[in-house]
């Protein structure tokens, strides 16, 4: 085993971070919740960064910008340091969103964020659904072939870049629910609410 991961959870006022922090602690992470990026350099010196979040894309992005997180995120991801986006924290990495108007995202990954269609089925998607493994990745280590994870969302990602898709899920259409490039990863589902399967993924993240 490597060193204990020192994991910073970004608190930008978008939803509950209690569960994320507790689930990370339960899987061997030393966790610090950070509301301001300066703290990353000052005293904590994290090895791992987690961007959680539930809520509206535009609101989330403007809160990240206001608190000054965007340059740090770009730098961190540019250096391929261990990163995990969860739910809204995944969607924000993409090019643009059409949630309540059009917003430009962080454009770390190519693609867009679109809504499920209430005409095709119930929205939001709430519940357990499979994530089909498309490409192997260290985060998949020790997990069953197509495990169920807990999802709660009304919007999802579409991308033409198959190289970043690590897993996909079918609801109305087949969409990427797990993406990543090297050590920069993101999931649409909630590992912190997915019992043992989710905890196994968070533990794998700590080993990145």
């Amino acid at each position: 085993m490597g060193a204990i991961p020192r994991t910073a959870v970004i608190d930008y006022g978008m939803g509950n971070i209690h569960s994320v922090s507790k689930a990370l602690e339960a899987t061997g992470h030393q966790v610090r919740i950070l509301a301001h990026p300066d703290a990353v350099f000052e005293d904590f010196a994290p090895s791992h960064l987690v961007l959680p979040g539930v809520g509206a894309f535009g609101e989330g992005l403007s809160r990240l910008e206001k608190a000054g997180w965007v340059p740090l995120l770009r730098h961190w991801i540019g250096e391929d340091r261990p990163f995990l986006g969860i739910c809204l924290g995944m969607q924000l990495l993409f090019g643009e969103s059409h949630e309540f108007g059009t917003h430009r995202g962080l454009e770390i990954f190519p693609g867009s964020v679109v809504s499920f269609d209430p005409g095709l089925g119930k929205v939001p998607q709430i519940g357990w659904n499979e994530v089909r493994r498309t490409v192997d990745h260290p985060l998949w280590r020790g997990l069953p072939p197509d495990p169920d994870f807990y999802f709660v969302h009304s919007f999802h990602v579409r991308t033409a870049d198959r190289s970043i898709v690590l897993g996909e899920t079918a609801y109305q259409e087949t969409y990427p629910s797990f993406v990543g490039r090297s050590r920069v990863t993101a999931v649409q589902f909630h590992p912190e609410k997915s019992q043992r399967t989710g905890l196994a993924l968070l533990k794998n993240f700590g080993a990145l």
Binding site: H18, S19, K22, V54, Q125, I126, N129, V152
Partner: protein, 260 residues
């Protein structure tokens, strides 16, 4: 494929589980956190905490229990009972709840659904509706089923979804506690009318009742005493439903003993 959910519900009063759970594995059958941890190990898809005491002075206790539970059990958690304001919704979510269910407060003030949905997203706003059959329709009751309202169930649910509710927790008061099965006609009617996920509640008595509720259009089925009294074992229920081809999560292999 999105799975149908099995949801044990813990009714609480003054911070204790009412109708204590009959399991030898539990040191304290009245402790909601221990009970939640047990249901997690047995493979519940989600948990619901309902504060039936719902007194204002107990609200702090409820939030403290949610926080302790969410620190130990990593599955979706819905909290309800006496939550009346956006501030109380915020507190519940910050303590680690994923969803908040609103009942009487939404009837008194439907805009609470809208305010909650705008602030936190409709996915965490559950509209809980208690209904009683009257001929071919169902009347909505408030205050824990003690007060009839002038509202028709289907109309109120459609209005509630339009106002911002992202899920419906529908309890048949006629069936609640009877073990005669969920009110399938009610589930069919509401499922057709509401465009959001539907949780069936009230009447589960056998494993097959769950399968029937799912077939009638429910996205999840909730039960309390059935699980608490051990009438149906959660693991057996999942295995049986799964083997019968119901769209539920597969059974998990037995877990090793929990770490101390």
């Amino acid at each position: 494929m999105l799975k149908k959910r099995i949801i044990p519900c813990l009714d609480m009063k003054g911070g204790r589980v009412v109708k204590g759970v009959c399991f030898e594995a539990l040191r304290d059958a009245g402790d909601p956190v221990e009970t939640a941890a047990l249901y997690d190990r047995l493979g519940a898809d989600e948990l619901c905490f309902l504060d039936i005491g719902a007194s204002v002075e107990n609200r702090g206790t409820l939030f403290e229990i949610v926080e302790r539970t969410a620190s130990r059990v990593f599955l979706p958690l819905t909290v309800g009972g006496g939550i009346r304001s956006v501030e109380e919704i915020r507190r519940a979510l910050n303590c680690g709840a994923d969803k908040v269910s609103l009942n009487s407060a939404a009837l008194a003030n439907p805009s609470l659904l809208t305010e909650g949905a705008l602030r936190f997203g409709s996915q965490c706003i559950v509209l809980a509706v208690d209904v009683k059959r009257e001929g071919g329709s169902w009347r909505v009751y408030s205050h824990g089923g003690t007060r009839p309202t002038s509202r028709d169930a289907i109309e109120w649910i459609v209005e509630g979804v339009r106002a911002g509710a992202g899920e419906i927790l529908l309890t048949s008061m006629d069936r609640d506690g009877t073990g005669e099965g969920y009110d399938l006609e009610l589930l069919e009617r509401v499922s057709r009318a509401a465009e959001v996920p539907l949780i069936a509640s009230g009447g589960a008595g056998t494993m097959d009742d769950f399968r029937k509720a799912f077939a009638a259009g429910a996205d999840a089925a909730l039960a309390a005493s059935l699980f608490h009294f051990g009438t149906v074992d959660l693991r057996d229920l999942r295995r049986t439903l799964y083997n019968a081809g119901a769209p539920v999560r597969p059974p998990l292999p037995d877990l090793p003993e929990e770490r101390p």
